[in-house]
Amino acid sequence: MTERKIYKYASFFIMIGLVIAGLRVLNWVPLVADKGLMREYGDIGEVEKKLSFGRIYAPHYFPQTFKWPPSRVFAQAKPFKAVMLEFRDVENGRTALLITQAVSPDFDPRGELTVAEIKEKALCNIKGMEAFLEAGSCQSPPSGPYDIECGRISWQYRDYHLRVIARTTPLELIKIAESMVD
């Protein structure tokens, strides 16, 4: 390859590098312009403090197979308040529990843990509040293999719509949900 050809290839890759840098800057600008946009936080306390979120309903009952504190915390204040907590399995490190708390019931984080197959649906009671329970199998990641025990429970509590998805039995799921509210 001649020197001239090498120069042309090098200039192409340098330009691609500049495009990547430009995209990174463009991706960062909105976060600087608006503190309320969806972003990752270090912990729950940081969300409560920086977004004036009020209370974040984290569970008090926590199965030992799940790792505390949450591995990732995402939150937004615009266009509506929403927070997502992601917990991992102690053994395999895969996402085992996802908790969302949002003003809108349609908030869908499209997380690493999704209920892929629903085998049973039921209404249940969470400390006097009606909740919707779905039990079945999950995929984590969504392109990965099916898990046997998995479920989702959702209910309205004060200003927020709460949703818990966990790789566990329905009974454990209800226990987690009950420990989140007063």
Binding site: K8, M15, L23, P30, G111, S143
Partner: protein, 329 residues
Amino acid sequence: MGLYFFFNSYAGMLVVQSVLHSLIAMVISNLAVSAWHIKNPVVKQRFYFFVILAPVFSFQLFHALRPERGSIAFRSGALFDSMRWLNLEIMGTVPFGLLLLLLLILTSLIFLFQEFLPVLKQTFSRRIPDMENASPVPDFRINEALKSLPGKNPEVHVIMEDDLLLFSRVGKSPAIFISTGLLKGLGNEGLRAALAHEIAHIRRSRRPILVIVFILRMVMFYNPVVLLEFRRIVQEEEKICDDTSVLITGDRPALAEALAGFHYEASPRSGAGPGMSGIWAAIEKYSHNFLLDSRIRRLAEECPDGEEAHFFKLLLTFLAILSLSYLVV
């Protein structure tokens, strides 16, 4: 909140990401053309095809490979997350998402009224006004010009009009249409070059790739980047036919002279009316002349480089487009 949920839906993500991926493809293909100093319009066109091709399948492919690509977690680690900009409000009132939606609607309307309906009208119309008065009249100058051009040439019809008209009909019975006004204005060599250019259009119309590109462009009717790029591909097509004409006739100055005759100043249609229509006419006139001038300059300056040995560059560009697009959500 409605906008938020639309852009978060499968359809919303598909629309937004197809626009962004075509933008990425446009930037990278232009960089490739610039980095490798590609001047041949045939090769340039191949690079520009990516801009129309990539957004048609990229989102669906990425989504099939990794369904969680739309998740908050994936977005937070992406190179560019469109949701940040779409939710960002200008002066705390109008979100950028609304501006994008308006742009998509405007692009769709432009496509509908400037491209789709005219094509539909032409396809289903039995009579085309300009062609109505045309007939394959035996004209000494045209016959002489055709004789000097190699291969089997199409019929040439003369339209009795003073305006400068030259276009071709492609398909089963291809033909070239030329107005008496243009015929008067062109010298023998210019006429030969102009006919060679139209013959090149007819020959190239048999290539299925151009039809495929047009169909893909129709699928992306809402995409403003594809709208611009398709028009650029059409401009490159003109340059390709210019080169073919020069290859056949070996006469660059003759084609340049023929092109110069199409300047709007020389046309009786150049008058612009008052108001908005006048402004649009002036813009149209300016862009027509600008593109014409660039083709004339090109004929005076450039000798296109070869078509060969670009496969690796095309592959590299395509991989760069796919890799970056994957990380743009």
